[in-house]
Symmetry: C2
Subunit: 136 residues, 2 copies
């Protein structure tokens, strides 16, 4: 079943705009911003409003095709839901972002579940700090 069919099977529609947002996410490796996607889409289709891009990202998240993460700034980062899940280390100083295997975070996940009854979504939780290169 194609993505379009999946979308339709949930009572939603596959529009040109939605297709373009999905394509842009496909091209971007990970963690694009909505603004970047809007820029790409609008470079070829200037009549498409940025608000449409924002709304499509939300809609596609509701449908399970994309997810978002908040790194250490106010900007929401988006990526396809089917890429391998991983944790995020964000450097406060240089802003670089590093991915780490979820395996590293799992012990904490188990502990939070056991002690607090909290089901942590560690693939969407950015850990801030100072990276190796920036360490004094």
């Amino acid at each position: 079943m194609s993505v379009a069919d999946e979308i339709r099977s949930k009572g939603k529609r596959m529009t040109v705009q939605r297709r373009l947002v999905l394509d842009a996410l496909q091209r971007a490796r990970h963690h694009t911003t909505a603004e970047e996607i809007a820029r790409q889409v609008r470079s070829r289709h200037p009549q498409i409003d940025p608000s449409t891009v924002y709304r499509n990202l939300e809609a596609l998240e509701g449908l399970g095709f994309v997810t978002h993460t908040h790194l250490d700034d106010r900007v929401t980062r988006w990526h396809r839901a089917d890429v391998e899940r991983h944790g995020h280390l964000v450097c406060r100083r240089c802003g670089s972002e590093q991915e780490i295997p979820l395996r590293t975070l799992e012990p904490l996940g188990r502990r939070l579940r056991a002690e607090q009854g909290f089901r942590a979504d560690l693939a969407h939780s950015a850990i801030v700090g100072i990276c190796r290169e920036c360490a004094p």
Copy 2:
């Protein structure tokens, strides 16, 4: 040495506006938003511009008096730097926020340091997930 003196010793100035922002942070227990502080300050001193509040929060952070954390939304949360440090669990569903002792997070901190050379600032890293009450 008073806060004012500390500020002056770093070549900065203690202005009325800065004092008011510090006071508002003092009153708020934790994790206020800039908007909330601006509202408080402006309720008594309407001539103070919101941009002044934003800039003072940044300046005070640079001076080490306050810090900020990004919970799971786009809003920056501010609090005094001298409150007891703790980690944050944020529920994706109900938005509630729970504090946990840093001790719980320390094993992960040590591991990231050893394996990645990354110095995690776990008191400013929010972990998102589903809280006990919202769990299915």
